[in-house]
C-alpha cells in the first residue's frame, strides 16, 4: 500500500495534480479575459474596475495562491515530461498517428513546447504589467489603461503577444479536455460535448486576447491612428 504522501507522485496522482492546477489556471484565464474586455469601455471604466480589484485586501493572498498553482503545474509537468522520456529511451524509426478515435492533435503533441513558451511569455507579461511603469489615476489606483497602451505600442511586442495567444489557444485546445479526463470524469453522453466545448472555448480565449492586443495597438492615443 503506497503511503498517502506517495499518492501525488505516482503516475495517476501526477495526472490529477496537473489536471487540477491546469483547470484552475484555465478558470483564472476566464476571469482574466473578462477583466481585459473592459478596456473597450475606455480608461475611466477600465481603471475603476482595476482599482476595485486591486483594493481588495485579499488580493495578495489570491496572487500567492495563483503563483503556487502555476509553479506546481510547471514543476509537475516538467518532472512528468522527463520521466516519460525515460519510459521510451529508443524512439521508433517510423511512428504514425493511429487515427480515430485517438484525440492526438498537433496541440496535444506539443504541450511541452507550448507550455515552455507560455512560461517565458508569462514572465515577460507579468514583468510588464504587474511590475512595469506605474501612473497614477486621479480617481484612485493606477492608470492601467495608459500602461496597457504603452506596453502594446511596439509592433514587435504586439506581434509577440498575438503569437503567444496562438500558443495559449493550442495549449488549451488539448489542455481543457485533458484536465477533465485526468480528473476521472468520463461520460458516454457528456464527454464528447466537453471535448468540443473545450476546443471552442480555447479558440475563443485565444482570439479574444488577440483582438484586445490588436485593438489596443490600433487605438494608441496621440498617434493619429484611427479609432475602429
Amino acid at each position: 500500500m503506497a503511503s498517502r504522501s506517495g499518492v501525488f507522485s505516482s503516475s495517476v496522482g501526477t495526472k490529477i495534480v496537473i489536471g487540477i492546477t491546469g483547470f484552475a489556471l484555465f478558470l483564472y484565464l476566464l476571469i482574466h479575459i473578462a477583466g481585459n474586455l473592459m478596456v473597450f469601455f475606455g480608461p475611466a471604466f477600465f481603471n475603476r474596475y482595476a482599482y476595485v480589484l486591486e483594493s481588495n485586501p485579499l488580493l495578495p493572498l489570491v496572487e500567492l495562491g495563483l503563483l503556487a498553482v502555476f509553479l506546481i503545474h510547471v514543476y509537475k509537468t516538467l518532472r512528468m515530461f522527463l520521466s516519460n522520456q525515460d519510459a521510451r529511451p529508443k524512439a521508433y524509426a517510423v511512428k504514425r498517428p493511429a487515427g480515430n478515435p485517438s484525440r492526438k492533435t498537433f496541440a496535444s503533441s506539443t504541450m511541452i513546447v507550448s507550455g515552455l513558451w507560455l512560461l517565458v511569455f508569462i514572465v515577460i507579461h507579468v514583468k510588464a504589467f504587474r511590475y512595469g511603469t506605474e501612473y497614477e489615476w486621479p480617481a484612485g489606483g493606477r492608470d492601467l489603461y495608459r500602461q496597457e497602451m504603452e506596453n502594446l505600442s511596439n509592433p514587435l511586442m504586439v506581434a509577440f503577444y498575438i503569437l503567444s495567444m496562438t500558443v495559449v489557444g493550442s495549449h488549451l485546445f488539448h489542455g481543457i479536455a485533458s484536465a477533465v479526463q485526468s480528473l476521472g470524469l468520463n461520460h458516454p453522453k457528456w464527454t464528447p460535448r466537453v471535448l468540443l466545448a473545450g476546443k471552442i472555448v480555447a479558440a475563443l480565449i485565444a482570439v479574444g486576447f488577440m483582438i484586445i492586443a490588436a485593438w489596443v495597438y490600433m487605438n494608441q492615443p496621440g498617434t493619429g491612428r484611427v479609432h475602429v
Partner: protein, 249 residues
C-alpha cells in the same frame, strides 16, 4: 506482390540493433502478415541466415502474443485487429513496410521483434486478481449484476494484454492495460474485497516498472485490438482517488 521490408534486427538484449532491408517477391495478398514473415524466414533459413524472431501463438487474434509495429502503428493499419489478423491485401504491390518491435523501457527487446512483456505479468501479480476461494461454481443468478454493468466489465475483460497501448503511447504508459484490468474487477462483486488495495498496488508496480504517465491522447484506444476505451482510464483515476481517501494504512 513484391514488397520491400525494413525489419528491426537485434541479436540480443544488450547489443545494438538496426533496420535491415529485405525484398520479398512472392507475397500473396491472401497471406496473413505473419505468414508473409514465415515466407521471408523460409528464404533466410534456406540461405543459411538467422531467421527473424517474432512472437505469435494463436494467430486468430485472441492470445495477445503478436506484437509488431507496422509502418509506425502497433498491430498495423486496421482498427480492432491484432497483427496476426492483418492480411497482405491491405498493402499494394511495391509497398515498403517498416516493422519494429514494441518500444518501451519496460519492454526490453529479447531478440529482433520479440520483447519481454514480463512487466505486465508483474503488474497483474501486484493486484490484478481475486484471491479468495469462491468454492464451487455458484448458481448463475445467485448474485444479480445489472446488464449494463456486466457489459462494461466484460468489455474491459476483453483485454488480451498484448501491450499495443504501451507501444502506441508517446509516454509508453501502461494506463489503458491497467485500467482495463482494474475496471473488470472493480465493477463486479467478486472484485470488491481487494478493490482499493488492487488499484494502489498495480499503479505502484507499473510506475516501478518504468512505464510513463498518461497524456490523454487516446492513441492506445485507437490501436487496441479489443477497442478498449480510455473511459477505463478515467475509472482507474476514480478508483485511485477513492483508494487514497479510504486507505486504512
Amino acid at each position: 506482390m513484391r514488397l520491400t521490408l525494413k525489419i528491426w534486427r537485434q541479436a540480443g538484449p544488450t547489443v545494438a540493433g538496426r533496420l535491415v532491408e529485405y525484398i520479398e517477391d512472392h507475397v500473396s495478398p491472401d497471406m496473413s502478415f505473419l505468414e508473409m514473415l514465415d515466407v521471408v524466414n523460409e528464404g533466410l533459413i534456406k540461405k543459411g541466415e538467422d531467421a527473424i524472431a517474432f512472437d505469435s501463438d494463436c494467430r486468430e487474434g485472441i492470445c495477445g502474443m503478436c506484437s509488431l509495429v507496422v509502418n509506425g502503428v502497433p498491430h498495423g493499419p486496421d482498427r480492432g485487429t491484432t497483427v496476426c489478423q492483418l492480411h497482405m491485401r491491405r498493402f499494394k504491390d511495391g509497398d515498403t513496410i517498416t516493422i519494429e518491435p514494441w518500444r518501451a523501457a519496460a519492454f526490453p527487446v529479447v531478440k529482433d521483434l520479440v520483447v519481454d512483456r514480463g512487466a505486465f505479468d508483474r503488474i497483474i501479480a501486484a493486484g490484478g486478481y481475486v484471491s479468495f476461494n469462491c468454492g464451487g461454481a455458484p448458481d448463475g443468478n445467485a448474485i444479480p449484476i445489472p446488464k449494463d454493468i456486466a457489459d462494461v466489465a466484460m468489455d474491459s475483460a476483453a483485454c488480451i494484454g498484448c501491450g499495443a497501448c504501451v507501444a502506441a503511447c508517446k509516454n509508453a504508459s501502461a494506463h489503458l492495460f491497467m485500467s482495463a484490468k482494474i475496471s473488470q474487477l472493480a465493477l463486479l462483486p467478486q472484485g470488491q474485497p481487494e478493490r482499493y488495495r488492487r488499484v494502489t498496488a498495480m499503479v505502484a508496480q507499473a510506475d516501478a516498472e518504468g512505464f510513463g504517465s498518461c497524456s490523454n491522447e487516446g492513441e492506445c484506444e485507437a490501436v487496441c485490438p479489443k477497442e478498449i476505451p480510455i473511459s477505463n482510464i478515467a475509472r482507474m483515476t476514480r478508483e485511485y482517488v477513492k483508494a487514497a481517501l479510504t486507505a486504512s494504512k
